[in-house]
């Protein structure tokens, strides 16, 4: 029995080592680092305990980042669902060219982020962008709109992100739609249910669990999204208006050169996500029990 247990542990050891080295250690090291005042590149550090956390509690920039991050992730998730779910429902129907369209809809998700962002920045540029050109030609606006300026940069970022990531919702939701037994719809039809009632009483209950996963994953991914946000404004002046938490953490680590502060922000982000995920699970389970 003991020998069997030992064999079991030995077989598990590579996985445990990998998990420990690649997941647990970085998290713990980051938490440890957050207790130091440490230069990002030079060997200068001093233990400061929770000072970095106390600093952020009163740091206006931190709270701005939380606000921008929440607006960005909230709006993009809602819009990804608003676009992705109807698109999946449409692509679940039979019509000519459906297979082609299913391929096309994946396109934004397949292209590299840098390409997607450059493309959108080019489209939205207020000097030579196509969007302004079309709006001016159609007489919708009388002067070019500064889509990448202070007032619209967040919306431009949201549109770019929704365009880039809604195919994930489409693919995942469509996969689940295809497994719903057709008899359920037939029974609903026999009972006189129209399209809307079939959606509400058959499709939605059947796809609740996949929607739960989609919202959970996309929330985590959008809240921690760095590349799209960074590429949209980089370190430009206007970046101030879309400086989400991951970007602020990056800035603290690599432009302020304060590795301890950057690590503290990463820990805060991690804790915020765990708390939000736990709350989300709780609400979902309660609703599931009720239904």
């Amino acid at each position: 029995m003991r020998k069997q247990a030992l064999t079991g542990w030995l077989l598990l050891a590579p996985s445990l080592l990998l998990l420990g080295g690649l997941v647990v250690f970085p998290i713990l090291y980051n938490a440890w680092l957050s207790l130091f005042d440490k230069h990002s590149f030079l060997p200068a550090q001093a233990f400061v305990g929770l000072k970095n956390y106390r600093y952020f509690a009163g740091d206006e920039e931190f709270w701005n980042s939380v606000y921008y991050g929440t607006v960005y992730s909230g709006a993009t998730i809602v819009l990804q669902l608003a676009v992705g779910v109807p698109a999946a429902l449409l692509l679940n129907e039979m019509f000519r060219g459906r297979d082609f369209l299913r391929g096309v809809v994946l396109f934004p998700y397949l292209i590299p982020t840098i390409v997607a962002v450059i493309l959108w920045k080019w489209l939205l540029n207020d000097s030579y962008g196509l969007v302004n050109h079309l709006l001016l030609a159609a007489g919708v606006v009388s002067a070019p709109v500064a889509w990448l300026g202070k007032d619209f940069i967040m919306w431009s970022l949201i549109v770019t992100s929704v365009w880039q990531f809604f195919p994930f919702v489409v693919v995942t939701y469509l996969a689940r739609l295809q497994t719903i037994p057709p008899e359920l719809y037939e029974a609903a039809r026999v009972d006189g249910a129209g399209a809307w009632r079939r959606f509400v009483h058959v499709t939605l209950p059947q796809t609740r669990s996949v929607l739960f996963v989609i919202v959970l994953l996309r929330s985590i991914w959008m809240f921690t999204k760095f590349d799209t946000v960074w590429l949209m404004a980089g370190e430009g002046g206007v970046s101030r208006y879309i400086r989400t938490l991951p970007v602020y953490a990056y800035a603290r680590s690599f432009t302020y050169l304060q590795a301890g502060m950057g690590a503290a922000l990463a820990v805060i982000m991690f804790v915020m996500l765990i708390v939000a995920t736990a709350a989300y699970f709780r609400v979902f389970r309660r609703e599931e029990a009720l239904s």
Binding site: P144, A146, A233, G237, V238, R240, A251
Partner: protein, 449 residues
């Protein structure tokens, strides 16, 4: 198929031997690599360096191979600091002058007095000679000088009968006059480095201000000099395209060349390349496009522009410091250095006074055609109208935290809130002052009480 133990061992021995032979030159130290990083990314410049100084260096030092890496400004600082942290910096690199003091105080730089004397200490232009001079020793030498200024549509200004502006008020009047018919007067680059560091440094320098108190290091972001400058910038913003803060330096050059704006706020001789490529054919000349020096503020005497000129530096951790200096001697050899400067004419103006009016240097076709741009550079140098990038006063080379102040984005946030956000300059300056004081305290540079 079964393999016998003997065959397996023999095969392994052959493979190991082959692999070791492949590594032999490096293992025996026959090929040593001299790592050289610089910020001149134009392909023709990279080629000139390769074909001149590198080629001769490799002939003179057969055991060495020079590996040059051209990096953009934005990439240089982070990559350099990471390499220093890893204990393997390049043997020779460009540094932004505002970083040099920070590295000097950490004792990371090797002095280069002997090199400076060898290439001609007395001939190096005063605008650059002592930028990296600490405690009686030289720790850097500028590779070339390129001044920055406005690039203006001279023809449009002259049509209005307006002289180049001397003061902030003159500039605002000019901007108002040139904003018409869907064209904006001026556009500033939206990158943080420029609008959040280079230009605010110029504003302070041209208005009698400074980043910090020289004795206590206390930031001076809410000084009257900065508040005046912010008020000026806020007014100037009315004459800029709405989305300027989301656009980049090269966008401004394209906008100038194609007639969307009348002045590019940040410009250097590199602008000529854009003009020659994108401006209407009959306008690609100094009659239409000219440099224009900065105006000064109410408390300043003359307007100041940034002088773009990184310096070469050798680290104490460099593997081959002596060879790095030998390489630099070849780099500054007259015939090679001329070719280097001619690879981007005027933008790469020589650091040697004797070369500024050297007929051989001036014979370059682009310099001939755009001679007024060269003359603006030379007259600006004579009149003391330039300070190195990010400097608010000449002594800023001794301030060891300018890189961190730039990196923090505190100044950029202040500028963008005032210019784009339309917020009160004094309130934003006070906020930036608080943040900067916190930052310098965290970095251990607080000397004020």
């Amino acid at each position: 198929m079964a393999i016998s133990r003997r065959h397996f061992l023999a095969g392994t021995a052959v493979l190991t031997g082959t692999a070791m032979l492949g590594r032999a030159p490096a293992a025996l130290g026959q090929i040593r690599e001299l790592q050289v990083w610089h910020t001149e990314v134009e392909p023709q410049t990279v080629k000139v360096i390769q074909d001149t100084s590198i080629a001769e260096f490799e002939r003179k030092f057969p055991g060495f191979k020079v590996k040059q890496q051209a990096l953009g400004w934005g990439d240089l600082n982070t990559k350099l600091l990471a390499s220093i942290a890893a204990g393997s910096p390049p043997d020779l690199t460009h540094l932004n002058p505002f970083m040099t003091a920070s590295l000097y105080v950490k004792k990371l730089l090797v002095p280069m007095d002997e090199l400076i004397r060898a290439i001609g200490e007395n001939d190096i232009h005063e605008a650059t000679l002592k930028l990296q001079y600490f405690d009686g020793k030289y720790y850097g030498v500028t590779h070339a000088m390129g001044s920055t200024y406005f690039a203006e549509r001279r023809d449009l200004r002259e049509k209005k009968g307006i002289k180049p502006p001397e003061t902030y008020d003159d500039m605002l009047k000019l901007a108002a006059a040139l904003t018409e018919g869907g064209r904006y007067a001026v556009q500033m680059p939206g990158e943080k480095l420029y609008m959040g560091f280079v230009h605010p440094a110029e504003w302070l320098a041209g208005n009698g201000g400074s980043w910090v108190d020289p004795k206590t290091y206390r930031p001076q972001l809410n000084s009257q000099a900065m508040i005046d400058a912010l008020e000026y910038a806020q007014k100037l913003n009315k004459f800029m395209p709405g989305g300027w803060s989301g656009q980049k330096y090269l966008d401004t050059l394209a906008a100038l060349s194609t007639g969307k704006i009348a002045m590019a706020y940040l410009s250097g001789a590199r602008t000529i390349g854009y003009i020659e490529k994108y401006a209407p054919e009959n306008m690609r000349d100094p009659e239409h496009f000219m440099p224009m020096l900065r105006p000064h503020g109410p408390s300043g005497r003359v307007g100041i522009s940034a002088l773009d000129g990184e310096n070469w530096a050798v680290f104490t951790q460099s593997k081959y410091p002596n060879e790095a200096f030998e390489f630099l001697k070849l780099f500054y050899k007259k015939e090679y250095y001329l070719q280097y400067c001619h690879s981007v004419p005027i933008h790469l103006t020589p650091i040697f006074k004797s070369m500024l009016n050297d007929p051989e240097y001036l014979a370059n076709p682009r310099i001939k055609k755009w001679r007024p741009w060269h003359d603006t550079m030379v007259s600006g140098l004579k009149a003391g109208r330039f300070l190195p990038i990010g400097f608010s006063r000449p002594e800023d080379n001794l301030v060891p935290f300018l890189a961190e102040l730039d990196g923090s984005g505190i100044v950029a946030d202040m500028v963008v809130e005032v210019m784009v956000g339309g917020k009160n300059p004094k309130a934003e300056a006070d906020k930036a002052q608080r943040r900067a004081e916190e930052l310098l305290t965290q970095l251990g540079f607080k000397r004020w009480s």
